[in-house]
């Protein structure tokens, strides 16, 4: 860091060459250095500036003039850096020196230049120099310097740093001294450096690392991970009231960092090193702390043993391991221990970890060695009559007073199921006899979740369904693994969920909004177990209050509205499951498919449509001349298309169901129209977006006269009611509620046409006849038995411009099962047609 800009470069001394980038200038600087070998208050700045200039010339020379490096080498100029450093000259000079070196090594591009710089041992001398590391600035520049050097390592340069004869590798050994430094950035730099070192893959160097440093380094690493976990567990225990969430979430993130770091090392596939790492991890962390904690009551702990952690924490940590680490030797070992219980439990050693929780600074190396060897000793007492870990994990899924443990049991099973290390040819559970027990437990859990008063959180339901699908419905279209009894129970559970949802359908005013919001959430943000397990809030006992800031799906519902949301969510998830089992495609949700809607910039044929001219005045007072078009589901503002008479371009679209319209008491030609931001709208913003609460449109519509204004108001109000009725009717159908059929939309509209086309395709796909009524209600018909077996049909129905643009009123309906076959259906002309102009999109989107 050079804070001061020095006005004249050398305090006005002597005749310096005009060109700052030249050999002459370097020679000149050499003389300056020779004359100022002792650092004093008066020449400090001069020296620092000279070193900086030398660096600049070297970088220039690297790119332009090799004679610069020859001179530098000949005069052994790097030794100046070292000589200055060795004089106790304060952190200011040290920082400047380190920064200069950083810049030098960072910007050198030629390998040869680099060799020149490294060719004598000066750099290693700088590395081992005892800087004042208590100065945070010195520390930061020093570790950055080491990291910069590590980025320059390769099979050639490694020999400048690692001396095979003396078994000396200061770059590495000095750096790992700081692996547990209190500054996170320093720790990260150390980790980066270690990874860069391992990556080089020089055999002699790796042998050195393994023989001389691996055991202590990895054991320290594992030791500190263990400390973190004990702290994490304490945090969970102490925090029944959700008070220290910040700390907890740091600890969870920290654990993930550790595991990712371990995984990054394992992924380098350095067998020598990995063996040591796996051994350390397994014997000193995974077995004694993670695995044995599952059934800790059964293991006699001596007073000196490392404390165990609670079962939820242990399940949680194991899930993270399986999600992140796919290194076969490690995960297979854990898996075997978890599922193949042979009454021969490996016990943790009786080692003395008296003060294992406290981080100690002052234990000697011998003490550490001792501890290490004692803890690697594993006794294999045969201890029968113990519950196996597998039983414990499966028992977590049993109905209990809450789903606290169930969520983690599920996540561990799910994580094991997707781990590449343990499922090489086929999912590991296929080879186990407990697969059917697992399925039965999942079915039972779901049954319980579908009850009105269930204490199972939506996220648990989602995960259970994901797991059931993974276990019971294999990818190739084999027969699913559910027997008739399970199928019947699931069908029953789904019926139950329908019943619960139905009670809210009748009682809840906002049911439509809630329903669409939940459906949208489920579609847009499918459960991702990796993300779920990054969320520390699930480690705390389930709570019902939203005041904790915990997401709705990860807690119990609070109040009537949330109970309705839960009911809807559970129903939609169960519906998904049943469709997955019968290998059917969802055709009814979401209620409005985006492809069916008119979008901004669509060009519409408006001949024969009802158009009402108006002036739209928005909040800022901008006035726009537009035509108002009211489609059965949408409000559209169009501008005439200059190229074709009778056609218009959609400038704004909103859903009628979200429209709020009021008259103006002072102006009978004027309406105030607000289109709220609804979950249906394509531009629906997530809660996180600042624009979330803003309506899509809030404007004044001024019409030509009172009559037109009245007509518009009536059509908007009626349109809103009808749009909502129609959707409620669709939901009613899905929930098997008897509702009176709403009046069908006027024939010949775009809406009807679209529903028609979808109905046709669907029925065609299923090889059935087209039922008489092609209106909306056809699309709303539920399949008779969702649990029946049907062929896989994944299709996307999209409306697309016909390839023949000269006939724009023709629609092509493209069906693309898995994107292979496309099927064109020509639908006859209608009064309003939409033509979508999109560059090179063959298939516009998936339903």
């Amino acid at each position: 860091m050079f804070r001061s800009r020095s006005g004249s470069w050398f305090g006005g001394s002597g005749s310096k060459p005009k060109n700052p980038h030249s050999l002459e200038h370097l020679k000149y600087l050499y003389n300056v250095m020779i004359k100022n070998q002792t650092v004093s208050e008066s020449n400090r700045s001069l020296l620092v500036e000279s070193l900086r200039s030398i660096t600049e010339i070297l970088i220039w020379g690297d790119q332009n003039d090799s004679s610069v490096f020859d001179f530098f080498l000949e005069k052994n100029m790097l030794s100046f850096f070292l000589r200055i450093m060795k004089q106790k000259c304060g952190s200011f000079v040290c920082v400047q020196l380190l920064q200069t070196l950083n810049i030098l090594f960072e910007n050198i591009r030629n390998e040869t230049s680099l060799y020149y710089l490294l060719s004598n041992n000066h750099v290693n001398c700088i590395i081992v120099h005892k800087f004042d590391f208590s100065d945070e600035e010195v520390m930061a520049y020093y570790i950055s310097f080491l990291k910069t050097l590590s980025l320059k390592l390769n099979v050639h340069t490694i020999h400048f740093f690692f001396n095979e004869n003396t078994n000396d590798f200061p770059l590495y050994t000095e750096a790992i001294k700081f692996f547990n430094h209190s500054e996170s950035m320093v720790r990260i730099a150390v980790r980066t450096l270690t990874l860069n070192v391992y990556k080089v893959g020089d055999e002699a160097m790796l042998n050195f690392i393994r023989d001389r440093t691996a055991a202590p380094y990895f054991s320290n690493l594992v030791w500190f991970i263990g400390n973190h976990i004990v702290e994490l567990d304490n945090c969970v225990r102490a925090d029944a009231d959700h008070q220290s969430r910040g700390r907890l979430s740091d600890l969870v993130a920290e654990h993930l960092d550790h595991i990712h770091y371990v995984n990054d090392i394992l992924c380098l596939s350095i067998d020598n090193l990995n063996e040591v790492l796996v051994e350390q991890l397994f014997q000193r962390l995974l077995l004694p702390l993670y695995i044995n904690s599952l059934n800790k009551g059964q293991i006699q702990t001596k007073s000196g043993d490392r404390p165990m952690v609670s079962r939820v924490v242990s399940l949680f940590l194991l899930s993270q391991i399986f999600l992140i680490i796919h290194h076969k030797p490690l995960v297979v070992t854990i898996l075997k221990l978890l599922i193949n219980f042979e009454g021969n439990q490996i016990m943790p050693s009786g080692s003395n970890h008296e003060s294992s929780v406290a981080i100690e600074d002052n234990i000697t190396d011998e003490e550490k060695e001792q501890r290490m060897s004692s803890s690697t000793a594993v006794s294999s007492n045969s201890t029968s009559n113990l519950t196996s870990h597998l039983e414990t994990i499966l028992d977590c899924l049993d109905p209990a007073e809450n789903d606290y443990e169930a969520l983690f049991g599920l996540s561990l099973l799910y994580a094991m199921g997707q781990n590449r290390g343990v499922n090489e040819d086929q999912p590991f559970w296929n080879t186990t006899e407990w697969k059917s027990i697992l399925i039965a437990k999942l079915v039972l859990l779901l049954t319980s979740a579908c009850q009105m008063t269930s204490k199972i959180r939506p996220v648990t339901v989602d995960l259970a369904i994901n797991l059931l699908i993974a276990v019971a419905i294999p990818n190739p279209p084999n027969h699913h693994g559910l027997d008739d009894k399970n199928l019947a129970v699931l069908e029953q559970a789904k019926e139950e969920s329908i019943m619960v949802a139905r009670t809210f359908f009748k009682s809840e005013d906002m049911f439509l909004e809630l329903f669409e919001a939940e459906v949208n959430e489920i579609i847009k943000r499918p459960l991702q177990v990796e993300y779920l397990l990054q969320d520390s809030s699930i480690l705390l006992p389930p709570t019902g209050t939203p005041m904790t800031g915990i997401e709705f799906t990860k807690r119990l519902p609070c109040g009537e509205v949330e109970r309705a949301r839960r009911a809807i969510r559970v129903f939609v998830l169960m519906r998904r499951l049943s469709l997955a089992i019968s290998e059917e495609v969802e055709t009814q949700l979401p209620l409005v498919c985006v492809q069916q809607c008119i979008k901004i910039s669509d060009i519409l044929d408006l001949n024969n449509s009802d158009l009402i001219a108006c002036t739209v005045v928005n909040r800022e007072g901008t006035r726009l001349r537009r035509f108002l078009v009211i489609d059965p589901i949408q409000l559209i503002l169009v501008e005439p298309d200059s190229r074709r008479l009778g056609w218009g371009v959609a400038k704004f679209v909103g859903f009628l169901q979200d429209v709020e319209v009021t008259g103006d008491k002072d102006d009978s030609r004027c309406l105030h129209v607000t289109v709220h931001n609804s979950p249906t709208s394509t531009t629906f913003l997530s809660d996180r977006s600042p624009a979330h609460r803003l309506p899509q449109l809030a404007a004044r519509f001024v019409f030509d006269d009172h009559i037109r204004c009245m007509a518009a108001k009536q059509r908007l109000s009626k349109g809103r009611i009808k749009a909502r009725q129609r959707k409620m009717h669709l939901i009613g159908k899905i929930l098997d509620v008897n509702t009176s059929t709403p009046s069908s939309p006027p024939p010949g509209t775009l809406h009807a046409l679209r529903q028609d086309s979808i109905a046709r395709t669907r029925h065609a796909l299923l090889g059935r006849g087209v039922p008489g009524n092609l209106g909306i209600s056809a699309a709303g018909t539920a399949f008779p038995s969702p649990f029946g077996i049907r062929p896989i049909v994944r299709c996307s129905c999209v409306l697309q411009t016909s390839s023949n643009n000269s006939n724009p009123s023709t629609f092509t309906l493209v069906r693309a099962p898995l994107g292979v076959v496309s099927h064109h259906v020509i639908i006859s002309r209608s009064s309003i047609s939409s033509m979508r102009i999109r560059p090179n999109s063959k298939i516009l989107g998936q339903v």
């Binding site: 860091m1 050079f2 804070r3 800009r5 020095s6 700052p20 980038h21 500036e49 600049e56 970088i59 220039w60 790119q63 920064q99 950083n102 810049i103 960072e106 910007n107 590391f133 208590s134 100065d135 945070e136 600035e137 520390m139 930061a140 520049y141 950055s144 990291k147 910069t148 050994t173 790992i176 001294k177 700081f178 547990n180 430094h181 209190s182 996170s184 950035m185 990260i188 980790r191 980066t192 990874l195 440093t213 202590p216 380094y217 320290n220 910040g246 700390r247 740091d250 993130a253 920290e254 993930l256 960092d257 990712h260 995984n263 990054d264 981080i359 600074d361 002052n362 234990i363 600042p690």
Partner: protein, 212 residues
């Protein structure tokens, strides 16, 4: 050299957009890009003043570590501010912003201030990304935006300082938990309780030194 706060920044973006040059330009003014010699660095620190308070900025460049997930993860988490840089003369660097942003949002703490930087504004003739596009992207994602040139130093100060100002304001509003150093903010010595008798770095260095 005492400060009221220390803010840790990271600097991210595609390779070649000028991250290292921006960093050096901000932390060390004496490397003037003369004779087409542009120099960069991956770490730097500098003191600035906001509201009469001394604030130290530490900037960590993350280049070259993308291969290691654990490293990127931790970097994001440890920072209070991030400069997300693209090159206005290369559209692809602009197109990749979404990916960078997703990554940043996923790993960072939710209060991290992200500043979007369109760098190389001196190369107007080769511009591929309009300033308006940068502005629109920033608006859409709630970022602060600025075009800079590490070559002419235009707006470089402002970019780093405005980010600091925003972090500072968040501290004033009480959004940041300043006692949690994992957030990339550190209180200066004068803010620490008086019983802290050891210099902040001392204990840690010996802790690190004792192992291996």
């Amino acid at each position: 050299m005492s400060y009221a706060y220390l803010f840790k920044y990271i600097i991210i973006g595609d390779t070649g957009v000028g991250k290292s040059c921006l960093l050096l330009q901000f932390t060390d003014k004496r490397f003037q890009p003369v004779h087409d010699l542009t120099i960069g660095v991956e770490f730097g620190a500098r003191m600035i003043t906001i509201d009469g308070k001394q604030i130290k900025l530490q900037i960590w460049d993350t280049a070259g570590q993308e291969a290691f997930r654990s490293i990127t993860r931790s970097y994001y988490r440890g920072a209070a501010g991030a400069l997300l840089v693209y090159d206005i003369t290369r559209r692809d660097t602009f197109n990749h912003l979404t990916t960078w942003l997703e990554d940043a949002r996923q790993h960072s703490n939710s209060n991290m201030v992200i500043m979007l930087i369109g760098n190389k504004s001196d190369l107007e003739s080769r511009r591929e990304v309009k300033k308006e596009e940068g502005e629109a992207f920033a608006r859409e994602h709630g970022l602060v935006f600025m075009e800079t040139s590490a070559k002419t130093a235009a707006n470089v100060e402002e970019a780093f300082i405005n980010t600091a100002r925003e972090i500072y304001e968040k501290i004033q509003e009480g959004v940041f938990d300043i006692n949690n150093e994992a957030n990339g903010i550190k209180l200066g010595p004068q803010h620490l309780p008086s019983n802290a008798n050891t210099p902040s770095g001392g204990a840690s260095a010996s802790q690190g030194g004792s192992c291996c």
